[in-house]
């Protein structure tokens, strides 16, 4: 069963009518980790903000449906956000220090969340907080409980945020660039921790990132996003070994590990910023294979087994 099911989600800037996300479909089964990958301007962060009901003023959901654990996220013709969704989604974001209250000791913040969310008593909440800190690999929870966020390292703050995300016991976890800005040895610790915590298979995890190496290490499925539009979806291994969409090919060719070949298209992809007003494929302006059709019509969705390619000219083979 899909714990997260988003179908054809549209997001617009109300004032200009520009579509920031167009027909974005994401589904995640229980126990699965899916990577939502894109470069800046791809709309990947807008997607997670929409699911958390945290969209900036002036940006609104204008179409599509989303369900978390079978419950609709947006209601009615106005697609208004159902705040009850927040109990069903936990968020681990990029800047852990900003996610924590700088004026409150860690222990107190955690106890507060536990008491509000789970109606726990004081003592029960304190024990639970300590247990959660141990669970995320903090060996001296009493020291961390007494600390303010600024007294902890970035890696330690991220562990605390993960502990708080776990405390919500939500069926869906969104990890939005959870290790960006952390040192590489700390990143490895946090990624391994996330992997271990998810191993029980109770949740659906959406990993939002620009880092293809992180996706390759962590995710079962990948969704490649460009300019607010899905380009390609498939099992991680298949996408990395046999990318079909020209944008996916271009992206993978730019990896340092890529072995150049005669089929490379990288040199023929032009540089241009995303044009959110075009009706056709968002990548058409840069794509070496694009035709007049690509500029005019949104790409069809071509399905083959577990793979989906959104392109006029390329299908999954």
């Amino acid at each position: 069963m899909n714990l997260l099911a988003v179908n054809d989600l549209d997001l617009r800037i109300a004032r200009t009518g520009q579509t920031l996300l167009r027909d974005v479909t994401v589904s995640i089964e229980r126990g699965s980790i899916v990577g939502l990958v894109g470069e800046s301007g791809s709309g990947k962060s807008m997607f997670s903000l929409a699911l958390m009901g945290l969209l900036p003023t002036g940006i609104e959901v204008t179409g599509g449906t989303a369900e978390v654990a079978g419950q609709p996220v947006f209601r009615g013709a106005s697609h208004s956000y159902d705040t009850a969704t927040r109990d069903r989604i936990a968020l681990v974001s990029q800047n852990p220090r900003a996610a924590l209250n700088p004026t409150m000791r860690i222990g107190k913040q955690m106890v507060r969340v536990l008491r509000e969310r789970h109606r726990m008593g004081k003592v029960e909440a304190r024990d639970e907080a300590r247990e959660l800190l141990r669970k995320v690999g903090i060996s001296d929870p009493t020291r961390v409980e007494r600390a303010y966020p600024h007294q902890l390292s970035g890696g330690m703050c991220q562990r605390v945020v993960i502990a708080m995300a776990l405390s919500v016991k939500a069926p869906v976890l969104i990890a939005d660039e959870p290790t960006t800005g952390l040192d590489v040895t700390i990143q490895a610790q946090i990624l391994l921790l996330l992997k271990e915590l998810m191993a029980d298979g109770d949740r659906a995890v959406l990993m939002v990132t620009h880092d293809l190496a992180v996706v390759s290490s962590m995710c079962d499925q990948v969704i490649i996003l460009y300019g607010g539009q899905v380009m390609e979806v498939g099992p991680t291994r298949d996408i990395f070994l046999d990318p079909v969409h020209p944008y996916t090919r271009f992206l993978l060719e730019s990896l340092e590990d890529h072995v150049p070949s005669a089929d490379d298209i990288g040199d023929r992809v032009t540089e241009a910023s995303v044009d959110f007003s075009i009706t056709g494929c968002r990548f058409a302006k840069r794509c070496p294979f694009s035709t007049e059709l690509c500029h005019r019509e949104p790409p069809p969705v071509r399905r083959s087994g577990a793979r989906t390619v959104h392109c006029h000219h390329r299908g999954a083979s």
Binding site: E39, D183, V184, I186, S254, E256
Partner: protein, 312 residues
């Protein structure tokens, strides 16, 4: 051939209230003309302080830095020498003056060295932009009209317009998207090949380092713990920290599951460095002898230096 850059026992200490924080604790390395040496390491390792000192932006507490035989202090003071060393910063979009046009930004180093009149300067700016792949239509644009990759190209054009012999690149691709990053690295490589410039490349991104650097110096808490040719360091890292660092990096390996045993613990604060080897608290090989001596960086094989008492 004598090295273009010589860094000799560099020490940089900052005052933090009454406490002294040692950011760089005796770092020595050299680079040949046309060579790229990468300084890699995590936050607090001193790579950026070292880079800034090499560029003359940071005063050394002790030690000496020479570029083409001149002391960095003299280079900073003498307009005739200033062209020798240039720096490219991490956030191009923030390091460029937002109110200036691209033409003025790129021409500024020339103006500061009183070397050219306006007409000659215009032609040199056009040439410099062309070298980084930007056409003359960019002359009148301002930083806010540029993408991250274009802004970094402008920053590179600005650094190279003085024909420097040494360029310090401080995380030049860190804030760029993957596909843009690759193109900027290619640009830096081809410019270096054309002009035999020396690069000091600061990065935490090991994939970029592997691609662009000839030699790598790995830093930990203000010291170099290992130096060697890039291919050898990546194939056969000898210092336990280097090994841990390389193993921690996620790689795109669709056919092998990612299995790592991350290095335990975190880097201690630079104001509380343990006696002996600074890495002992996280080192899987640490023994009592590691607390006794801070190991010096010594040659263990041709071109390879290592600071570890546990070396085989």
């Amino acid at each position: 051939m004598s090295p273009l850059l010589e860094v000799d026992d560099l020490v940089i200490t900052y005052a933090n209230g009454r406490r002294r924080v040692s950011a760089v604790r005796g770092v020595s390395f050299a680079a040949e003309p046309g060579e790229t040496i990468a300084l890699v390491g995590e936050s607090g390792c001193g790579k950026s302080s070292t880079a800034r000192a090499v560029a003359g932006l940071e005063a050394a507490t002790a030690g000496r830095i020479r570029v083409a035989g001149h002391d960095v202090g003299a280079i900073a003071r003498d307009p005739k020498l200033r062209h020798l060393v240039q720096m490219v910063f991490q956030h191009a979009d923030q390091s460029l003056d937002q109110t200036w046009t691209v033409e003025r930004i790129v021409a500024e180093p020339l103006a500061r060295m009183h070397r050219t009149g306006r007409g000659a300067s215009h032609d040199r700016v056009v040439t410099a932009l062309a070298e980084v792949g930007l056409g003359a239509e960019y002359l009148s644009r301002r930083p806010r009209d540029l993408s991250g990759g274009q802004a970094q190209r402008v920053a590179i054009a600005r650094a190279l317009i003085t024909r420097p012999q040494l360029v310090v690149l401080d995380e030049p691709t860190a804030s760029l998207d993957q596909s843009v990053r690759s193109r900027v690295l290619s640009l830096l490589q081809s410019l270096q090949a054309e002009r035999t410039m020396t690069y000091v490349f600061i990065s935490h991104d090991l994939a970029s380092v592997r691609r662009i650097a000839h030699r790598v110096a790995v830093m930990y808490l203000g010291r170099i713990v290992e130096v060697g040719p890039t291919a050898e360091i990546f194939r056969d890292p000898k210092h336990p920290y280097t090994r841990g660092l390389l193993e921690s990096e996620p790689r795109v390996t669709p056919d092998e599951p990612w299995e790592i045993t991350p290095m335990t613990g975190e880097t201690p604060s630079p104001s509380a460095i343990p006696a002996g080897c600074a890495f002992q608290g996280r080192c899987p090989l640490a023994g009592p002898e590691c607390a006794a001596v801070d190991p010096p960086l010594i040659e263990v094989a041709g071109g390879r230096l290592l600071a570890c008492v546990k070396k085989d």
